[in-house]
Every structure is written in structure tokens, then in C-alpha cells.
């Protein structure tokens, strides 16, 4: 079907409610020719795909799901702004046939945008299985646009959909907008006229009717946009007066007038075109929910599910992790040998082996865990269980000042902070996301375990388990405490409403899940990989300069920095070696262990003895507390920057971690000393 040079280019947006099957339709339309990026300024994935049909190059944009064109979350704003201001040549509105009535509410608004659109009536297989009948021809006549029944996952109807999209311009469809009733219609006409009188607005208002309706509803964003751009200050007052009159006559506010009319339009069409089965039996989703959301069984089942995911992630992940470790060990060893035999300068050898391979290898070691974790998260998301999980734990989370959807990232955080931060994308509200991202570094990730194992086995041999447990306990307490603190200090009065759809269950499609897993894992490799590379080269440089000094020995710049920082770590009983270890620990927590062993000059023998020269049991414990609480690693910092799109919040996160770590470690040390421990 592809030709060498398409003669025409069009842009088609794929829009619709969340979970209506937009991405599945988009995939069916574009195949693998897609590009995942971010919308400018927000961390909402922008997915663009290309396809050439009939000599026409079509660019498809998979818009975030939205229930209406009055945005509520950053995702929805992206979708609205794109439809309103970027004016695609056509819109493919994906509608879940099983929730046709609710979806038509969005269609009512899209009709007003005055952009040609095709309605993909998706999930028609479920509609049929439920014994529902939808008269698509009538539906098409009533909304004034082509309607194509589709089943995205089996590609049914995709060809017809493409044909309608290609011929959208030639087709004689006249969308039938909502009739708001005589008074409202008159008011809308009035506003349309007023706006068109202001020439500088004419450009913005290609969809005069939609804009005018939103102004009458008092939509704050559209108001800001129109009144801000207008030099005519009377406009605002005139429209406000129109609105007041209308509201007085209809005895309710403009927003409700419009919403009710749109719902009326949707419900009228719905009842015209749908033939219902008479029985109302529970659906399979109802039956599954009766078990999974059971009053008493719901939480235990969720707990077991989480436990299994966790075990699989770190159990299965262990094998490839070992292979990767072995591979990098082998690579480092053989390069070392190669350099030696070639007579390459020692410094180059050290850069490659100690710097790059150790650093990059240290990150890639996490890859299996991350990929497996994302695989399971994708299953949970696609099947529809994720929303149920949020439903189950919202009560508990709400008491801690968090949102039901914060729970999954926190659980992931016990594995690795990096994917956990990435998983906060399911939170719609920016403040909730920030709050969750800020507490995630306090959740004890698995990379910190080696430090605790090393120190507790040396200093607390008899009660190592209890010491380990105290670390987990402290981690949770600090996370809860910070959540509460941030909630009151930075986000006061934030109560994000919890109004969330519980989508019908689906057996997830393997292809979709693998695609998801791959995209996210690749993002991890690329982003964290580049930052880690730079970070590890810097640390290597500090550890090997000035020239001639042995790597990470007392004569290096790192040691000088450690000595410079010593006053800072003194209060919790550490010396310069501890300072260097913590500094290097920014790259990755495991490095704390290797730095301690190298700098203590122990080799492998008498590690315990060497450690006892640096730490007392009390100062070792304080050092563990500090390690637990400060910034997990440079990859976390990178991913926080990426997800918050803000250096400020990244800095806040690092500063918060350092401050809390210092305070708590010092507190432990001081109180311990006073109580007579040492």
C-alpha cells in the first residue's frame, strides 16, 4: 500500500474516554511506526504514528483519554488544547460501545468543535455478547458523522475506519450540534457575534459556538484565554451580563445548563439507537468484582497479588541480574587485560574499567528487575485491576494524606525507586504526583540492603535481623511523616477528589503488554543510562585524581573532599571515609559498600577489624540511618527531574533527603551516646 511519495498529508487525532480502546485503535491504524515523546512542559506521553493509505500520508496522534473538553487533569488539558488550538484535519473519536451513553457526552462537545470526525464504535464484540443492539446508521444520522463498528484487538472494522477517515473531506456529513433550548441558543448567538466583532479574537475562535458556550458556562480557562487576548474590556462585562440573565431565567448556573443539555442530547440519542436486553443480570465484571472487591477478602487478595508480583520481580530477576553482573565483570577483566597487553596508559584503563564499566554496569544490573516489574504493572493496568487496587487502599492512603493510586508506586519503591517514580504517572493530579514522588526516596529500595547487611553483620551479628527490620520500620515511618509534613507545609488544603472509573475487566493482550514494557524499559536505559554515565565518570575522576594516585586511595581528591566534609559527618560519628562513601553513594547505594571496603584498606581479610576502626556500633547504626534516608542514587535524581520536569522539585527532593538524614542520624547518635551506648 505504501507509495514512494505521498501526495497529501493529513493529521488525525485519536480521541475518546479513557479505556475506550484509543491506543488499540491507534496501534491497529499505525502498526509499529510510532514515536513516543512528551508533550511540551508536561509529562504526558505524546504518541505519534504514521501510515500511508491511498497516497495519503496520515499522521495519527494518540491523545490522552478525556471525559469532556473541560480539562480536569494535565492529560485532559493536553487533549483539549490539541483539539482546540492545533486543529487536526480530522478526529477519530473512539467510543466504548458498552458505555455509549456516557461517551456521547464527549461527542456532543466534539461536534461543536467544527472539525470533521469519524466515530469508531469500539468493543462491538462485547456489545454483541451482552445482547445489546446498536443501530449504527441511525446513530450516524443523529450525530451527523460516519460511524464505524470496530473491534480494535482483532482489527475488525479498521479498513472501513481508514476509508472513512480518508474520505472525510468529500463526505457530505453535517454534524448536528446539541440544541440548548431557545434562551441559551439566543445567548450563544449573542456571544458569537460579540467575539467575532473583536478581530484579534477571530483567529482563535474558529469554533465560535464551542468557545461561546464555554464562556457562558464560566469555564475559567477559556475565559482567561479570550479576555486576556482581547483588548476590549467591555466584552467580559457584556458576556457576564448575558450569563447572569440566562442563569436567572433558567434558575441554575450556566455550567449545569450546558451539562444537562448535553446529557439530554446523549441520552436521547442513546435511547433512539440502542435496543436493550430486558434482563439486568450482573456482568462478568460485576462477578469478578464481587470477589476481588469483597468486603473482607478484597484486601488480603490484593496483598497476596502484590506479594507475588514482588517475589516474581526479584526472584525471576535474580538470574538475569547475575548474568549481567558476570558479563560486566568479565568485560572489565578482559578489557583490563587487553589494555595491559597493548600498553595503554594506566589512566585510560582505569577510566574504562573503574569508571564506565562499573558505573553503567551498576545501573544495567537493575534492568531485569525493572523490566519484569513493568511487565506485571502493564498486566495489572490493562486488565483493569489497578483501579480496583486504588479503590481498596484509598481509605488507608487517604489517612496518610496520600491518594489511593499512590500505593502501587510505594510498593514498587521497595524494589527500586526508579520505576516507582515512573509509576506515579497514573496519578492525575500534579500535587498528588509530586507528593508521592517526594516520599518515594524514603522507601527502602533493595539497593540499600547490601550496606545494611555488611554493617549489621559486623556490628550486630547477634541481632542483625532486628536491625534490618528497624530499617524497614524507620523507612515507613519517615515516609508517612514526610507525607504528613509536606501535605501541611507545601500543599495545604489539598484534598484531591477521588472520582475514578473502574473499567470493565479485560484479558490483557500480550502484544500491548510487551509494547508497554519495552517502551518503559527503554526509557530507563536511555535516560538513567546517560546520567549515570556522566555521574560515574565524575566519581571516577574524583577517585583517581591527581594523576598517579592509586584509585580511591587516601591521596585522591575524593579523600580531600571527604576530609573537607568530615565536620558535617562528625555529629553522627563518622569520619572522612564515611563521608566519601556517602558521597559516592549518590551514584548508587551499592558503591557505599565498595568504597568503605576500599578506603578502609582492608582488602578481603579482616574486613570486620578494618570497619571497627572506622565505626563503633552506635556510629555504624547512625551511618545506616543516614544511608537509608538520603537520596537513593543519581538515577533516581534523573528520573525525578524527568517526571517532575522541574529542577526546583528535584532540588527539594535531594535537600529534603539530606536534611532529614542528617537530623535523624545525628539524633540517633546523640541520644545513643547520652544513653550510654557506643
Amino acid at each position: 500500500m505504501e507509495t514512494s511519495s505521498p501526495s497529501q498529508k493529513i493529521r488525525v487525532a485519536v480521541a475518546g474516554n479513557p479505556n475506550s480502546g484509543k491506543t488499540s485503535i491507534f496501534n491497529a491504524l499505525t502498526g509499529m511506526r510510532q514515536h513516543v515523546g512528551n508533550w511540551p512542559g508536561v509529562t504526558v506521553e505524546k504518541i505519534v504514528g504514521h501510515a500511508v493509505y491511498d497516497d495519503i500520508d496520515i499522521e495519527f496522534i494518540d491523545l490522552p483519554g478525556t471525559y469532556s473538553l473541560s480539562p480536569y487533569s494535565p492529560d485532559e488539558r493536553v487533549a483539549r488544547d490539541f483539539l482546540l488550538f492545533e486543529r487536526p484535519d480530522a478526529v477519530c473519536v473512539v467510543v466504548d460501545g458498552t458505555s455509549l451513553e456516557r461517551s456521547l457526552y464527549l461527542v456532543a462537545q466534539i461536534v461543536e468543535l467544527n472539525i470533521p470526525f469519524v466515530l469508531a464504535l469500539n468493543m462491538i464484540d462485547i456489545v454483541e455478547a451482552r445482547g445489546m443492539k446498536i443501530d449504527t446508521e441511525k446513530l450516524s444520522a443523529l450525530i451527523g458523522a460516519p460511524v464505524v463498528p470496530t473491534v480494535a484487538r482483532s482489527r475488525r472494522g479498521i479498513r472501513e475506519l481508514v476509508r472513512e477517515i480518508i474520505h472525510i473531506k468529500d463526505n457530505e456529513y453535517y454534524p448536528v450540534p446539541v440544541d440548548y433550548g431557545k434562551e441559551t441558543e439566543r445567548a450563544i448567538l449573542n456571544v458569537v457575534e460579540k467575539i467575532s466583532l473583536a478581530p484579534q479574537l477571530a483567529k482563535k475562535c474558529h469554533t465560535g459556538r464551542f468557545i461561546s458556550a464555554m464562556l457562558l458556562a464560566g469555564d475559567p480557562e477559556i475565559e482567561g484565554l479570550i479576555y486576556g487576548a482581547s483588548e476590549n474590556s467591555e466584552l467580559e462585562a457584556e458576556i457576564a451580563e448575558l450569563r447572569m440573565k440566562l442563569e436567572a431565567r433558567e434558575r441554575t448556573d450556566g455550567e449545569t445548563i450546558l451539562a444537562n443539555a448535553r446529557h439530554g442530547w446523549a441520552s436521547g440519542i442513546f435511547h433512539e439507537v440502542v435496543e436493550h436486553p430486558t434482563h439486568d443480570e450482573p456482568t462478568v465484571t460485576d462477578k469478578i468484582d464481587d470477589v476481588l472487591l469483597h468486603k473482607f477478602l478484597g484486601l488480603p487478595i490484593f496483598g497476596v497479588a502484590m506479594f507475588l508480583v514482588f517475589m516474581a520481580t526479584f526472584g525471576l530477576g535474580r538470574f538475569p541480574t547475575v548474568w549481567i553482573e558476570a558479563f560486566f565483570g568479565w568485560l572489565g577483566g578482559s578489557l583490563d587485560g587487553l589494555f595491559a597487553s597493548l600498553g595503554a596508559p594506566e589512566i585510560l584503563n582505569s577510566l574504562v574499567v573503574n569508571g564506565i564499566i562499573e558505573g553503567v554496569g551498576g545501573v544495567l544490573v537493575f534492568l531485569p528487575n525493572i523490566a519484569i516489574l513493568f511487565f506485571f504493572v502493564a498486566i495489572l493496568e490493562d486488565s483493569g485491576y489497578m483501579a480496583r487496587a486504588a479503590f481498596l487502599v484509598d481509605n488507608i492512603m487517604h489517612r496518610m494524606g496520600l491518594h489511593g493510586k499512590s500505593f502501587i508506586p510505594i510498593i514498587l519503591g521497595f524494589g527500586c525507586t526508579v520505576p516507582a517514580v515512573m509509576a506515579t504517572r497514573t496519578l492525575e493530579n500534579r500535587e498528588d504526583r509530586l507528593l508521592t514522588i517526594l516520599i518515594l526516596p524514603f522507601v527502602l529500595c533493595s539497593a540499600r540492603i547490601p550496606v545494611f547487611v555488611l554493617l549489621s553483620s559486623i556490628f550486630f551479628a547477634r541481632c542483625a535481623g532486628i536491625v534490618m527490620f528497624s530499617m524497614y520500620l524507620l523507612s515507613i515511618l519517615v515516609a508517612i511523616f514526610t507525607a504528613k509534613l509536606l501535605k501541611t507545609a507545601i500543599f495545604p488544603g489539598l484534598t484531591t477528589p477521588f472520582v475514578m472509573e473502574l473499567p470493565p475487566y479485560h484479558v490483557p493482550s500480550l502484544r500491548g503488554i510487551l509494547l508497554h514494557t519495552w517502551e518503559r524499559s527503554w526509557a530507563f536505559i536511555r535516560k538513567a543510562g546517560t546520567v549515570i554515565l556522566v555521574g560515574s565518570v565524575i566519581i571516577w575522576a574524583l577517585g583517581s585524581m591527581p594523576p598517579g594516585a592509586e584509585y580511591a586511595s587516601e591521596g585522591t581528591w575524593a579523600a580531600s573532599i571527604g576530609k573537607f566534609l568530615e565536620p558535617l559527618v562528625k555529629p553522627f560519628g563518622s569520619n572522612w571515609i564515611g563521608a566519601v562513601a556517602l558521597l559516592f553513594g549518590f551514584a548508587a547505594k551499592e558503591i557505599v559498600v565498595s568504597t568503605l571496603t576500599v578506603l578502609a584498606g582492608a582488602g578481603d581479610i579482616a574486613l570486620g577489624g578494618a570497619m571497627r576502626e572506622i565505626f563503633t556500633p552506635l556510629s555504624a547504626y547512625a551511618f545506616m540511618v543516614f544511608t537509608l534516608i538520603y537520596t537513593p542514587c543519581i538515577a533516581t535524581v534523573a528520573v525525578i527531574k524527568k517526571e517532575t520536569q522541574s529542577w526546583k522539585w528535584t532540588a527539594v527532593s535531594v535537600a529534603l533527603g539530606l536534611a532529614l538524614a542528617w537530623i535523624l542520624a545525628t539524633l540517633v547518635y546523640t541520644v545513643g551516646s547520652v544513653l550510654g551506648f557506643s
Binding site: 471525559y67 455478547a129 449545569t256 444537562n260 460485576d286 472487591l293 472520582v499 475514578m500 472509573e501 479485560h506
Partner: protein, 104 residues
């Protein structure tokens, strides 16, 4: 009457969505509008969220948000959970064959 005090398994009809601001708009966007019939399906224990069926979709909301929805109870109709639990496994074959929730 407010939606949060409707018992699970009961039906009600929406009269109005009270309050103001984005939450109210959101509720209306999700299908809570005058005249709509809603079915309260279940309530999470200890004041947790409530699950409601509205316009054929399942929506969960906290009691605080449910409080904003003014409803009139429909006493004649009772949800499926008030009836027997016979035929629990009906429809599951179909579910796994089609990979999705089809029920017949």
C-alpha cells in the same frame, strides 16, 4: 437525600449535583446529571470509597464526593446482589474466549 447514605444494592435517581468547582464539573462529566439513575454497588469498609454504576459504567468516589450528589431513592428496584447468587460462573467461558467482558 444524598448519595452517600444510599445503601449498597439500592437504586436512586440524581436530582442535582451540589457544591461548585472542578469536582462538581467532574462528577457531571462522569455522568451524574439530573434524571440519571444510579445503582450503589458496594461500599468499601470503614468509610472507604463507594462504587456506583452510572450510565452503564462503574465509578468509585469517596463519601465526601458522594455527598455532593443529591438523589431520590428508587424503592422498587433492587440490585443484582440482593438476588440469589445462582449462576455465578455463567459468562466466564465467554470472557476468556473473547478476552473480555461479554455476558449472555
Amino acid at each position: 437525600m444524598r448519595l452517600d447514605i444510599i445503601q449498597d444494592g439500592e437504586f436512586a435517581q440524581v436530582i442535582d449535583v451540589c457544591g461548585q468547582g472542578p469536582i462538581r464539573a467532574r462528577l457531571m462529566d462522569m455522568g451524574f446529571s439530573r434524571g440519571t439513575t444510579v445503582e450503589v454497588i458496594r461500599k468499601a469498609p470503614m468509610g472507604g470509597p463507594i462504587e456506583v454504576r452510572v450510565k452503564g459504567t462503574l465509578v468509585s468516589l469517596r463519601p465526601q464526593e458522594a455527598m455532593m450528589v443529591e438523589v431520590a431513592p428508587i424503592v422498587r428496584r433492587r440490585g443484582y446482589r440482593h438476588r440469589g447468587r445462582r449462576g455465578f460462573f455463567r459468562g466466564f467461558m465467554n470472557f476468556f474466549e473473547n478476552g473480555t467482558d461479554g455476558d449472555k
